[in-house]
Subunit: 237 residues, 2 copies
């Protein structure tokens, strides 16, 4: 049966504490090297499906055939990268959520945090941005599912605001996807900037913060579907 063998490590005695499987260590090391190599190659003009398996192996300091010890093919490596990137993003969200809400300048703080995070993980976001439309169907749907989940989480966060009580789930989703749109657009513009162009980065910050404020104002004025129907029923009755 093709199952993974159950390795009963550290058998005889429970001594030899720090024996961290020198085999696995080495494996994880070159695996990471391959992933990083792919990310690095995509920082320039290349997109994921225009870089070659051999290129990745070469860039990782390994012979092409060694690649197959870690990934079935390039697509599998790509999926791994998507997974890593989205997991990191979700973690950032979780941390940001647990922070106390300054309520007033909440938007500014959030935008600030997010921009900083994107700049700190430029390569991952570069990859996500490119594969959001460029890549194979598998990668594309993986990215989309990730952002969809992102939108949903944002929606449940927004639902915690007292003002949001009037709004239905669908309306909250609609607003969340609008906000995520702003974030995506900001990200793309940010990635097209030299990383140290502070003036432009600040402008980008203001722009997206303003846009979010505008969305906020709009949702305060929004006439929920339920109310509209109530009104209509009233007019008819």
């Amino acid at each position: 049966m093709g199952m993974t063998r159950v390795t009963r490590r550290r058998s005889r005695h429970e001594e030899e504490e720090n024996e961290t499987g020198r085999r696995d260590m080495r494996k994880q090391r070159t695996r990471r090297a391959l992933l990083d190599a792919a990310l690095e190659l995509m920082q320039g003009e290349q997109s994921f499906n225009s870089i070659s398996l051999r290129e990745v192996a070469r860039n990782a300091g390994v012979v092409p055939t060694a690649f197959y010890r870690h990934f079935r093919d390039m697509d599998e490596l790509g999926l791994t990268l998507v997974e890593e990137a989205l997991r990191a993003l979700r973690q950032m969200m979780r941390e940001a959520r647990s922070a106390p809400l300054p309520a007033n300048s909440l938007i500014n703080r959030s935008v600030q945090t997010y921009i900083g995070y994107v700049q700190a993980n430029r390569d991952y976001f570069q990859f996500l941005a490119k594969e959001r439309f460029g890549g194979s169907r598998a990668l594309r749907t993986a990215v989309r599912q990730g952002t969809a989940l992102f939108i949903s989480e944002l929606a449940t966060d927004l639902a915690r605001f007292p003002t949001a009580n009037r709004l239905s789930t669908e309306e909250l989703q609609m607003i969340s996807s609008l906000i995520v749109n702003i974030m995506i657009s900001t990200t793309e513009q940010l990635l097209d900037l030299p990383p140290d162009n502070d003036a432009e980065v600040d402008w980008l910050h203001d722009q997206s913060a303003q846009q979010m404020r505008l969305v906020f104002l709009g949702s305060l004025q929004w006439k929920p579907k339920s109310e509209r129907e109530k009104k209509k029923a009233l007019a008819q009755g």
Copy 2:
């Protein structure tokens, strides 16, 4: 000097009216075939810089070397495609603008028109969407300049509304880019749908129309920078 030769067509007599240069005709025909071949190849999984010159030539029913009679390299062909796509889009805008404004259901009509247009020019938009981030620097900036111009035109259109008088040019640009964001996102979701999935297309229509309405509501409530400063000055004085 490597200049293009000035061809003095139809020299001797001004007769021979319909002599539409059988040479040029043929040339334009295969040129178009090459462009269409590239577009068609990109309908699937491939992105522009993952399709080969030979593939394009083959798909156009022509030998690889014939390619060079029309384009210096693939990048030049790509730039031509961007140009064509943006020109078509701008023309649509011009037509939409000349139409009378129903004022009330303006947003619904506009979204409807745009979605129809995207579906009618699926291949061009597929290309634009992919190259917006995937492609070479040259293509990318070409696409971005196009959308920037698009935003500006939309801003001047919005400025014609009576409500827009309170807003500065920068604020109008900010709002316009927000709207264009919605359109871009809608486009991308639309392209990821089978072209005949009417139910999903309708949902997409509603979603983006709602988002635009929300932006509209928001901009009505927007406190322009000028007013905010006035208020502040008042408080201080």
